[in-house]
């Protein structure tokens, strides 16, 4: 159980939750979050958006029952965190591009921070449905930020060569970004979402078919090489 330090809306239907937790985490990893006992059945996977010493931040969009409950929590309440889970991003390259769609930008923030710590030069494409959020936070680490509100962020991606491209967002958007970047970026990785029951690799519910066969998003992922995911 982790203490909630703050839980506030930062855009319509998007919340930022700061909790007290000082585990070692990698950018791209996630936690299974829970704030109820039996119902809903599953915990909800949410990426680590930021980490500062004793604090960790999640940014989540309210979609259904679980995130709705999260949104009602207040500073001083506790939330159950199971994790960190997943492989996380491998920090690679000096010239990187991040492409995030919607709340998929969340894990890219911690990634930007870590890449920056390694001296990388970062371009960020951030697509929003109706309003911008976290942009100033990205501004702290990124060399260049291109945002789009209401359109398709992938439409504005410029063909430029990068060492590594990191993509997170809806599957169609990731596919489009991959199509745009596969020839200009040396490596392209995506962060994939699947429904999860156990979150630890026993239930095989979060299966993704990759070029290398079946993989579990919760433990083999959520980060995969784009070419292994979009291979068909």
């Amino acid at each position: 159980m982790a203490l909630i330090l703050e839980n506030k809306p930062i855009a319509s239907n998007v919340f930022q939750m700061r909790v007290a937790a000082n585990q070692q985490v990698k950018a791209g990893q996630f936690y299974m979050l829970r704030a109820w006992e039996n119902i809903p059945t599953f915990s909800r996977p949410i990426s680590i958006c930021d980490q500062n010493g004793e604090e960790m931040t999640f940014v989540y969009e309210v979609k259904g029952k679980g995130t709705e409950i999260f949104s009602t929590l207040q500073a001083g309440d506790e939330i159950e965190l199971m994790g960190p889970r997943g492989n996380g991003f491998v920090l690679k390259g000096q010239k990187c591009v991040l492409v995030g769609g919607g709340v998929g930008i969340a894990p890219l923030l911690l990634l930007a921070k870590r890449l920056r710590e390694q001296g990388a030069q970062i371009t960020a494409y951030l697509g929003f449905r109706s309003e911008e959020y976290l942009k100033e936070d990205f501004a702290r680490y990124c060399h260049r930020i291109i945002t789009d509100v209401g359109g398709k962020i992938t439409d504005v991606i410029e063909t430029e060569s990068f060492d590594c491209a990191y993509i997170c967002g809806p599957e169609v958007m990731m596919q489009a970004a991959w199509d745009k970047l596969k020839h200009s970026a040396e490596q392209v990785v995506v962060s994939v979402e699947r429904r999860m029951a156990c979150g630890v690799g026993v239930c095989l519910g979060c299966n993704i078919k990759t070029r290398q066969g079946n993989k579990k998003v919760c433990s083999d992922g959520p980060i995969f090489a784009a070419e292994d995911v979009f291979y068909e």
Binding site: N38, I39, S43
Partner: protein
């Protein structure tokens, strides 16, 4: 003085709680969260003779009080399992139950024969599999095919044989009796209840396979009823399964006739949930000066 100990198929289980097949993998993952040997037994992920890639599309879906799954028995196949068994065996010191499925009688028999090579404790026969030879109806829904597959596997296996029953039947007592007659040493029930979920947005079934298996608290009343019916119909011991989320739920299953239980879906609440249920059960027994053996089948 262990109030929680129960006997099952010749084994003295230190407590009646086992992990259910398909919700525990081969024990590796949860071993990082707690000492899995505190469990009375573990049922390993369901195997089939040949490796299976499992189903495409959405595989799990949350529903009120439970979940639907359509994993499609993804597994490495019996041979690969046997090859890696040394490692599995080293990890698990508690009673090891190996769950075996199949699409034909021959597959079941060949799988069971191969498993004779290694040292497992109990063989659990999952007969909720489509019988490809008889048009895809589950082995577990017809008295005859339940009898046949049980008989055939019993003839070849060197392990105590527990048959896992499907709840999608009109009369579980009939199937239970058929398995007993065919030589089953024990029964486990229930497997998931066939259900369905809809994706309204896209106007399609959520699962590529259309139907999927319902588990969790939602099915507990059904599971209790079926364990009770089966317990009244046979003289072999029963492992109760279905929607167990608490120590009190375990007691309910013992009272209606189970000697021990398996827990699946509840384990997804958090990795240590089975340990919490165990602790609750222990506390209840102590507070009420109860030995679990006393309450088995008293209703």
């Amino acid at each position: 003085m262990n109030r929680l100990g129960v006997d099952f198929l010749g084994f003295s289980l230190k407590n009646p709680i086992a992990a259910a097949s398909g919700t525990f993998g081969f024990g590796k993952e949860y071993a990082e969260f707690y000492d899995i040997n505190q469990l009375g037994a573990v049922c390993l992920k369901g195997l089939t003779l040949h490796k299976k890639a499992g189903n495409d599309g959405v595989r799990i879906w949350e529903c009120t009080g439970g979940m639907l799954n359509s994993i499609g028995l993804e597994n490495p196949g019996v041979k690969a399992f046997i090859e890696e068994y040394e490692e599995t065996q080293a990890r698990i010191q508690t009673v090891k139950i190996v769950n075996l499925g199949g699409d034909s009688l021959e597959e079941y028999v060949e799988g069971a024969r191969l498993l004779n090579q290694i040292d497992i404790d109990i063989l659990e026969l999952n007969i909720s599999c489509p019988n490809v030879k008889s048009g895809g109806m589950l082995f577990g829904v017809s008295e005859d095919s339940a009898y046949q597959v049980t008989r055939a596997v019993k003839d070849i296996t060197r392990f105590p044989l527990m048959v896992k029953l499907s709840p999608n039947v009109a009369d579980i007592a009939v199937i239970a009796a058929a398995c007993e007659e065919a030589g089953a040493d024990g029964l486990s029930l229930i497997n998931t209840v066939q259900g369905m979920a809809i994706d309204i947005q896209n106007r399609r079934a959520v699962f590529d396979n259309v139907y999927a298996g319902l588990s969790g608290a939602a099915i507990k009343p059904i599971a209790l009823r079926m364990v009770h019916q089966a317990a009244k119909a046979v003289n072999i011991p029963i492992m109760g399964i279905g929607g167990i989320y608490s120590g009190r739920d375990v007691l309910e299953f013992l009272m209606v006739g189970a000697s021990c239980v398996q827990i699946g879906t509840a384990g997804f609440i958090r990795p240590t949930k089975l340990m919490e249920i165990l602790a609750e059960l222990k506390a209840y027994c102590e507070e009420n000066d109860l030995f679990l053996k006393e309450i088995i089948n008293i209703i």
